[in-house]
Symmetry: C2
Subunit: 359 residues, 2 copies
């Protein structure tokens, strides 16, 4: 087992080699850690800033063994890591954080919403459906219009579609592949917010100021942080974060997407058991950003401060937008973050800008 707090010079493993893994690796290196990336793709963004890289499928036993040999603590950059891989690593004596429960909850939208409501973190009304007939029934139950989502997989708006009338639910079910789904009541929200929070191995928690988020075509476009909110709203978000973190026995940074409703209450849209796109503003708006915070937590270090030091507008660079780097580099208020991805496919997250203003 890992000797915690993990000493500098130790190796932290990361499942996943994308931009989140890359920014985690950079944060870890600042604290004196080495990073080992497990990721199928060779030459992945995170692998290019890591001391060690294992190019293997996430469920490849030999790859997992290689990782376990060098890393006593392992974390992940995305929630669709196979649960069996995490179990295997734990069997081999590796500390895996945020851990199996967080994955189990985050990998199935039905389990997730059930967990949230059971833990005092309210969501919209929802119902599950395993067949076309159940889908119609579910639509009548939650009311139309409603959002149908596959229970598993799906991100950035993929694997979901709107059901305008209950009668359309059967067709929607088939269009999503006939896999188990949930139907979510439409949230008549005034704003989308998110809270990035962390929990240490000692159970201590730390919460960043809320971000206000704007999506386009299901993909995050812009976050503004700290969001303009009342103290009561901030309190509500903190309470939700504390309940979720405790309920999951969580270790690490979590992203919790929220709807601000007309009556001033917050509903949880979804949780992501990892560092989160709506927390990228912390890289230039906090002393300890979400990436270092996550590394601190999984390494068993004390959590760092989360107060804001600047007002930040974070803008995602999608696809060829990143080609405008010359212009962004010349803006004095703009901090440029590029992920080193080779192929600027449409809609692909290639980087982000943090436009910084004094508080």
């Amino acid at each position: 087992m890992a000797d915690l707090p993990l000493a500098p010079g130790s190796t932290i493993g990361i499942l996943g080699g994308g931009q989140l893994g890359r920014m985690l690796a950079v944060a870890a290196s600042r604290l004196g850690f080495d990073i080992a990336i497990l990721e199928p793709e060779k030459d992945a963004p995170a692998a290019r800033v890591a001391a060690k890289a294992v190019a293997a499928a996430y469920d490849d036993p030999a790859g997992l063994e290689k990782l376990a040999k060098v890393a006593s603590v392992v974390t992940y950059e995305f929630e669709n890591v196979p649960a069996a891989s995490v179990a295997k690593l734990v069997e081999m004596g590796v500390e895996v954080a945020p851990g199996a429960k967080a994955l189990e909850v985050a990998q199935d939208r039905l389990v997730e919403k059930t967990f949230l409501n059971a833990n005092g973190a309210p969501t919209v009304a929802f119902a599950k459906a395993d067949s076309a007939a159940e889908a119609v029934e579910a639509a009548h139950q939650v009311g139309a219009p409603a959002l149908m989502k596959t229970r598993r997989e799906g991100y950035d708006g993929k694997g979901q579609r709107w059901v305008e009338h209950a009668a359309d639910a059967a067709a929607a079910f088939e269009a999503l592949g006939g896999v188990p789904v949930i139907l979510e009541a439409a949230a008549d929200f005034v704003r989308e917010l998110s809270v990035i929070a962390a929990r240490g191995r000692d159970g201590a928690t730390a919460v960043y100021p809320l971000a206000e988020n704007h999506h386009e075509h299901g993909i995050l476009r812009r976050s503004i942080a700290p969001a303009q909110v009342t103290p009561a709203l901030a309190d509500q978000a903190e309470r939700i974060a504390a309940r979720v973190l405790k309920g999951l026995g969580y270790v690490g940074v979590i992203g919790i997407e929220l709807f601000e409703m007309r009556d001033g209450t917050l509903l949880v849209n979804e949780i992501a058991p990892r560092v989160h796109n709506t927390g990228h503003w912390t890289m230039d708006g906090c002393e300890v950003d979400q990436f270092e915070q996550h590394i601190r937590a999984v390494a068993g270090w004390p959590l760092g401060p989360t107060h804001p030091t600047a007002r930040v507008e974070m803008l995602n660079l999608l696809g060829e937008e990143a080609n405008d780097w010359r212009r962004f580099a010349a803006e004095p208020e703009t901090r440029v973050h590029l992920y080193g991805k080779r192929d600027a496919k449409p809609g692909r997250k290639m980087g982000h800008l943090n436009r910084v203003k004094a508080l």
Copy 2:
């Protein structure tokens, strides 16, 4: 030749794999660059955060060729890179910054002081000596006590000794190995300051606020920045930096160590044609730190802002002091930076702390 400004996705080469190379590599990765490290030691701190590493001597032609094949722009993390290696890289079509002139000046204390005085950057009185007899003569010329330094090599107080009386100069000369030296008049300074400045490929310059520095046994212990200085003193430092940068036709970040004299004038102690230990505070006290600034400059990007966003006390962690990481990690105001060095030899720079306060 490199196509400048250098596009993200390109590889920047760094000669040297220590902590400065490591922090440069991390800054470059944030901007989407890959890094290739040339350094004799395998598994060096910078190599462990770089996409590519060439383990070869700095003057190994095959190693330099390998570097030139992947990197169109090369920089260095220390001033004792062989000038012939830089010349070879330039021959192979590589852009090397800060460039040959900066190295030539920084590698020989006599050339350096002569350059500084010729460019309106005043220093203490000095005289050269190539023999024991000349050393005594030089001591009479500059006056005792005086500091004798080898013209080449030497850092962190190595390769130098005090001459209390002119008659001792011959013995000091022999003790330093009988190599060419210079004798520097003692500077009756009130404070040691430094200025970190940058010059872009377009000739634009940017200057960080001054740092106040405290040395122990010839090694930097502490920097406080922004230093409390009068506007007149800050102006003087900026003028000196501008002259030095222009005189060297410099590209990149430079560290200029200064003596603040009793009469309020600044003398240049020495220049370091690279990112500098007294600029580490910028990592937590500026929007763009000295490492990103250097990468921006050598890549032909516009320079970033240099205004302070916090007050920082930077403390070097020498040798086993870094073993106290548990304590430092628990201090909310302390940002921990560890270099991933395996062997905590006495006096070795293992990391630094930035203790941050609001401005």
